[in-house]
Subunit: 414 residues, 2 copies
């Protein structure tokens, strides 16, 4: 006879504390970058907890870590639940860890209750989600879903370490986890994550039901003018790339987002060369990060950026060069899986709203191979990738409860 | 019996070539930074040429170099004519060298003609005008006119060299030049220089009669906002310092110079922190170089920069900090000396226009202690501080002729 599976809030919060101690920074954050000694310690702790409960532990060739609890129908591929354990260099305690440890709590809750699921359920900790030590990020989920990883062999990290060597050492450090091929059929994927934005907190909602991940493009704009002396050059004789860049960015900032609430446009980097206080610059370079859930709108925003930059450059007798340096198509999550999350939240009498994720997540790649969904919980002031990242304990537990309900429904479809 | 003194154009152009060979760069420019081995070679060559002609050579404790030709009235302080021999690291062949070598040509022309002047005439090559190796620049003329040089003892150069040691080595390398105290009474100062801007060339005028040097202020603006994720943060929740900075600079660029043709406003440096493509910056810092010949207008422009930055920061819920990092008052040249330059140009049937120098020059400091003036000649495309800097040979010779006429009149006042 099985009981109703229940999240043990104290156990989950204790685990979050324990993992936050691995790579803890003096400012209260976490430095647990991919394939580092700290990352290996976190993987080891999770594997040991799993083995103590009698679960099976696997890893694949990119160091994704899996913890398996069998279902009743051995012919069905597993339902995956999880997130990642690696962090930014000055990261927070919850980004990734909350989703991974909540997924493990779900597995323990099922085990505590001796609950049966039709599908096997596997907790997954995706390798190198952050990409801060070894770019690109979301390496584990990309490899799992079939990305070509040949070029990764030569990757050297921000600290000079060689990816191939660090990856091998990470896998070798966990001999208890049997090695299995990278990638396999799965029945679905559910990921709990902190919002990494302020809207749930501002709207006082405990749950966000994520329906899609935005597409992202990065444009690198360089405007070339003519360097000149700040004092001697009359306005009429200037070919000032700073004036062109400022005018272009100003037009984009005052039109794109104000006219389309689904669009995002961010200028995060800007520099002038030679960068002398008393010289009109020779050139000004800046980046534009644009996002939109709809691919055709992303195309329109990119076209607008190109047109505005070219026109403002020309108005100053300058020239603009624009390069697209990154293009990540968005993905809509499976309507069925999204509905399952909604039902889980409703059954717990939780208010929620539909959200589009502006950040990448491993779920973006899983959505291409299986029904996937994400559950967001609020984080204080929207802060993430920041040592001050904070999630109310109650919100962490609520998120785990929604994950448990969703997983139970998804793993035992009617 | 004396002849009419005449500039020997071939001799002057030959000298310009010879000095351009000292520190010549592959791209056709000059790297002859202050107190370097190349700077010492140039000083030595000028001193040797002077000694060959029987002139007396002096230097002072900051390594200003003087070449003296006596006048008929030993009670009068000398008229100084000259410029500087040091260059930017990727500098041009004419910036400084034209004025110094033309002044020496004037001295030779007087000597060739056995012409008498009432005042002694001294050619001066001011030390470290550029300041690119050892900041600040215009060191020689500042020290000569009484600046407090105590703090300079500890200056370390861009290349790690110690100013005090390099200065000592520079002076020691020229034992032929007698050491005399820094600073002395002078009757006047005249400096020929390239315009370092495009207006004479565009207006096809061979001569600019400089009436004043603009005042300059540097403001360093820092706008603090809140870092955030480029994808997850809605427009409504952003406190984006880039939006504030862009709006502020845009307002300043579209108002200050367009409304006042004597004003200059240049943003030469800008940077965002942390400078991540996919993050709303935490802060954006930029510099504003403002210039105006009238001190009260400079005050008004500075007040406008402060008001606009504060207002645009506030509109984005950011905060602005503004620091004045440099304040160099302008100077009007002596109307009498300016009139003498005009008469010299007119007597040579040369078209000229009055100009305000937007650049610093040693003359700015000399104007505070004696009647001073400057003569500008056109440079191609207004380029200076650039290896491609170029002056038409005819313009170089015309500039020297105006300098000669001016010096003759100024050194023998009626």
């Amino acid at each position: 006879m099985s009981l109703t599976p229940r999240i043990d809030g104290d156990r989950l919060l204790g685990r979050l504390d324990a993992f936050a101690g691995i790579g803890a920074t003096p400012a209260g954050g976490v430095n647990r970058q991919a394939f580092s000694v700290e990352d290996r310690r976190a993987r080891r702790l999770l594997a040991e907890l799993a083995l103590e409960r009698g679960f099976t532990v696997f890893q694949d060739h990119i160091a994704n870590l899996f913890i398996r609890r069998e279902g009743t129908d051995a012919t069905l591929p597993p339902l995956l639940i999880g997130s990642h354990l690696d962090s930014q260099p000055t990261g927070g305690r919850f980004d990734g860890a909350l989703g991974t440890l909540s997924a493990f709590e779900v597995l323990e809750a099922l085990e505590d209750a001796q609950a049966e699921t039709r599908m096997p359920v596997e907790v997954v900790a995706w390798a190198n989600e952050e990409g801060s030590r070894f770019a690109p990020g979301v390496m584990g989920s990309m490899a799992f879903t079939g990305a070509d990883t040949a070029a990764w062999k030569s990757i050297v990290g921000a600290d000079g370490a060689v990816l191939a060597a660090e990856l091998k050492a990470t896998i070798t450090a966990l001999p208890e986890a049997a090695l299995r091929p990278t990638g396999m059929p799965i029945s679905g994927y559910i990921e709990l994550h902190i919002e990494q934005g302020p809207s749930l907190e501002k709207e006082q909602l405990p749950i966000g039901v994520v329906t899609a991940v935005q597409g992202t493009r990065w444009l690198e704009v360089s405007i070339q003018g003519t360097a000149g002396h700040a004092g001697t050059t009359d306005l009429a004789y200037r070919r000032d790339p700073m004036v062109a860049a400022i005018s272009a960015i100003h037009r984009l900032q005052t039109t794109i987002m104000p006219l389309d609430s689904s669009a995002r446009l961010t200028v995060g980097r800007i520099a002038a060369r030679p960068g002398s206080i008393n010289a009109i610059p020779q050139s000004v370079a800046f980046t534009v990060d644009i996002r939109h859930p709809r691919a055709e709108q992303l195309d329109l925003v990119e076209a607008e950026v190109r047109q505005v930059c070219a026109a403002e450059a020309e108005a100053q007798h300058c020239t603009a060069m624009i390069k697209r340096s990154f293009d990540m198509p968005g993905a809509a999550f499976s309507p069925d899986m999204v509905k399952t999350v909604e039902e889980a939240a409703s059954s717990l009498r939780l208010q929620f709203k539909h959200m589009i994720s502006g950040a990448f997540h491993d779920a973006l790649f899983l959505a291409r191979v299986a029904p996937a969904a994400m559950i967001f919980v609020p984080c204080r002031d929207g802060l993430s990738h920041n040592e001050a990242e904070y999630v109310e304990p109650g919100h962490a537990v609520i998120g785990a409860r929604v994950l448990l309900r969703t997983a139970i429904m998804a793993a035992s479809p009617r």
